[in-house]
């Protein structure tokens, strides 16, 4: 039989029993729609997780913080060595670096500074690091170049830093040139690469002097060179980097200034205990994503706090997998019921058409033609149900997303204007239609074989 004729005959037979066919198809529609919508929820959830993590940074970066045990009041180390356990020093950083799988470890010395770029002003958080760290992290540069060891008074800026600058004289306030939901952002107020840059640890630097003055002697700001702008929106977007040496030099002057302002020279923690320099935190870059967990365990074993996005991703993925299993399971059950419905319908129609099958066999039908006829009928029920189910899923997904925009169900926006509740990628449409057709074929297989094997004479004798 020609395939066109087979399809035509099958269609006619389905059409013959319009009501029964459409009820069976309805079962498949419900099954398909529930499975597709459920899976789409899971996909959307995963996409949101990944988006969120991409916003946050690299998965092979571990941030190490001093142990919480490092608290002079609760120090459990009565022997009182010169350096407390759990503090980050050059020595501990060196020991991180010797852990297998670690590409590089760098201490981070953080400073809060005030900066001016031409007439604009901003607060910045300066991070002193080993320049090699950025190289290992394969940091991409939008403009300029990466940090180098010999750089003096040179800063490397994150892509968002320029947006933090504001005009202290303008009344409009509007310090953020960022418009929600607007893809086309305005350019930052100032181009850091070309502007004249100054930085100071004096927090009044750059502001309008209050009437009557502050009564403090002004600090001479540093003249800063911008060596580059980091590309992208990742973890580096709001950072300003310089070399450890440079950060340390500024910190020493800052400490001295603070001491002189407060006038209590004795409060300086440095003079008494600081025989070894300590850092705010450290960044450990791991070579391979598979090693992140063991490295974290090792560092924690050394008495530090260590975090990476991997842990976050893991826990989010576990949650998402569990939810997807439940959702997919619910959908699968309804499709299973639909599959049983197809089998039942096919058995019914073979029962009704037994005599017809016998006649067809006598007048020359091949065994395979009979089988194909019924298989195509069953597959068609699956296909039509799948197709209709997808149309409904498409609509359902749109509705879910519309509702989801107004109610944040998962409360994990993260500035996610584009956070979606339900995502149906093209592959899901294709997979669903192939799958339902396959379900039809499988459900119809046994009945079709039964029809094929009917004995001619007994089929003819049935009424």
């Amino acid at each position: 039989m020609r395939i066109k004729d087979l399809i035509m005959v099958s269609m006619r037979n389905l059409w013959r029993r319009k009501l029964r066919t459409s009820l069976t198809i309805l079962g498949v529609v419900i099954g398909t729609a529930s499975i597709v919508l459920m899976v789409s929820l899971g996909i959307a959830m995963n996409q949101n997780f990944i988006k969120e993590i991409e916003r946050m940074g690299s998965l092979t970066t571990i941030n190490v913080y001093p142990s919480y045990r490092y608290d002079p009041m609760m120090d459990k180390n009565p022997s009182g060595g010169s350096v407390d356990e759990g503090m980050i020093t050059d020595m501990t950083v060196a020991s991180f670096e010797s852990i297998p799988g670690v590409a590089i470890a760098s201490p981070v010395l953080e400073l809060s500074l005030k900066m001016t770029a031409d007439k604009y002003v901003s607060w910045i958080q300066l991070k002193g690091i080993k320049p090699a760290l950025l190289e290992v992290q394969k940091l991409k540069i939008a403009e300029g170049r990466l940090l180098e060891e010999q750089d003096k008074l040179a800063f490397l800026f994150g892509s968002e830093v320029a947006y933090g600058f504001y005009d202290p004289l303008s009344s409009g306030g509007g310090m953020w040139y960022y418009q929600e939901g607007n893809e086309e952002r305005m350019p930052p107020p100032v181009d850091l690469m070309t502007a004249r840059l100054k930085a100071s640890y004096d927090m009044n630097f750059g502001e309008k002097a209050p009437p009557g003055g502050t009564g403090m002697k002004p600090v001479r700001p540093y003249n800063i060179t911008a060596i580059g702008i980091i590309e992208g929106q990742g973890e580096h977007a709001y950072s300003v980097y310089t070399t450890l040496d440079q950060a340390r030099a500024i910190k020493i002057e800052q400490d001295r200034y603070n001491a002189s302002v407060s006038g209590t020279e004795t409060s300086g923690t440095g003079s008494k205990k600081k025989t070894v320099e300590t850092y705010n935190n450290a960044i450990v870059q791991v070579e391979d994503i598979d090693q992140v967990e063991t490295v974290i365990e090792t560092i924690k074993g050394m008495g530090f706090e260590a975090y990476s996005l991997m842990e976050y991703l893991k826990s989010m993925q576990n949650t998402s997998n569990a939810i997807q299993m439940v959702l997919g399971g619910i959908g699968a059950i309804s499709l299973l019921v639909a599959a049983i419905g197809i089998t039942n319908t096919m058995i019914m129609s073979i029962y009704e058409r037994t005599k017809e099958i016998g006649v067809m066999k006598v007048i020359g039908a091949k065994m395979k033609d009979i089988k194909k006829m019924f298989l195509i009928e069953a597959a068609m029920i699956g296909f039509l149900g799948g197709a209709t189910g997808l149309v409904i899923s498409f609509g359902g997904s749109k509705i879910l997303n519309f509702v989801g925009k107004n109610i944040s169900l998962f409360g994990m926006g993260g500035g996610g204007v584009d956070t979606q509740l339900s995502v149906i990628p093209l592959w899901l449409y294709i997979l669903a239609i192939v799958f339902t057709t396959l379900v039809g074929l499988i459900s119809g297989y046994l009945p079709a074989v039964r029809a094929m094997k009917l004995s001619v004479l007994s089929a003819l004798r049935t009424e």
């Binding site: 037979n13 006598v362 007048i363 020359g364 065994m367 094997k453 001619v456 004479l457 003819l460």
Partner: protein, 241 residues
């Protein structure tokens, strides 16, 4: 004239639980090409059983049936299906048309299974309808036709494949005498014109006069074969002429 079918030592036993029903036994029969045979006998004598086995609708318990050089008794279901499609036409007493299809579609069903193009099917089908004189009813469903018309459609369906041999199990059983006669004439006309072999089962002795040979069956045995041309009785053990 060559032989189209040779039957040797045919036996058919139906088992009903522990009871055995011997429907046919010790049947030897040669069918010659381009002849018309009539199977005559009382009800329950095994006419239909013999016809069905010759047409490859059910397997014999014992014995052999050959069609030309094909061993029908040795064939599996799938080979039998192919044999039926290629070589035989079958006419039922109760027409057995597909109720959802119209006359033309019913007639061209065998061509559908052969994979003939729809346009060709339509053309050949219409010619056939013309030949049996119900061309104007081609769109009618079986329920919209008289018994005689339905049997004509059924007859056209059996002939459309241009088979070598046509089997008819009481084709006129449900028809009145006049219609039965025209039906017979139609069938004989087609068979002669196309040089085909025809085997008819009937109760009706009047119809037997149209056949070249009348095979009398009683209690599952052929007890005589009558050649009609000169009304000469032929002993069944010496069927060969």
């Amino acid at each position: 004239m060559g032989k189209i079918m040779i039957i040797k030592g045919l036996r058919k036993v139906y088992r009903m639980g522990k009871e055995k029903v011997i429907a046919l036994d010790h049947v030897d029969l040669d069918i010659e090409e381009e002849k018309v045979y009539c199977l005559l006998g009382p009800s329950g004598s095994g006419k239909s059983t013999l016809l069905n086995m010759m047409a490859g609708l059910e397997p014999p318990t014992k014995g052999s049936i050959s069609f030309k050089n094909l061993k029908i008794d040795k064939m599996n279901e799938s080979d039998l299906a192919n044999f039926r499609r290629r070589h035989i036409g079958f006419i039922f007493q109760s027409y057995n048309l597909i109720p959802t299809l119209n006359a033309l579609e019913n007639i061209t069903m065998p061509l559908l299974f052969k994979g003939v193009h729809p346009k060709v099917r339509h053309k050949v089908g219409m010619e056939m309808l013309d030949a049996i004189g119900i061309k104007d009813r081609w769109r009618h469903k079986p329920t919209e036709m008289s018994g005689g018309q339905q049997q004509r459609v059924s007859l056209a369906r059996a002939f459309i494949n241009d088979p070598d041999i046509i089997f008819a199990d009481e084709p006129t059983g449900n028809l009145d005498t006049k219609t039965a006669n025209t039906m017979m004439m139609l069938m004989l006309g087609l068979v002669k014109e196309r040089r085909q072999t025809l085997i008819i089962v009937t109760h009706n002795e009047e119809l037997a006069v149209f056949a070249d040979y009348v095979i009398h069956i009683r209690d599952g045995n052929i007890y005589e074969i009558v050649m009609n041309a000169d009304k000469k009785k032929v002993d069944h053990s010496t069927t060969e002429i």
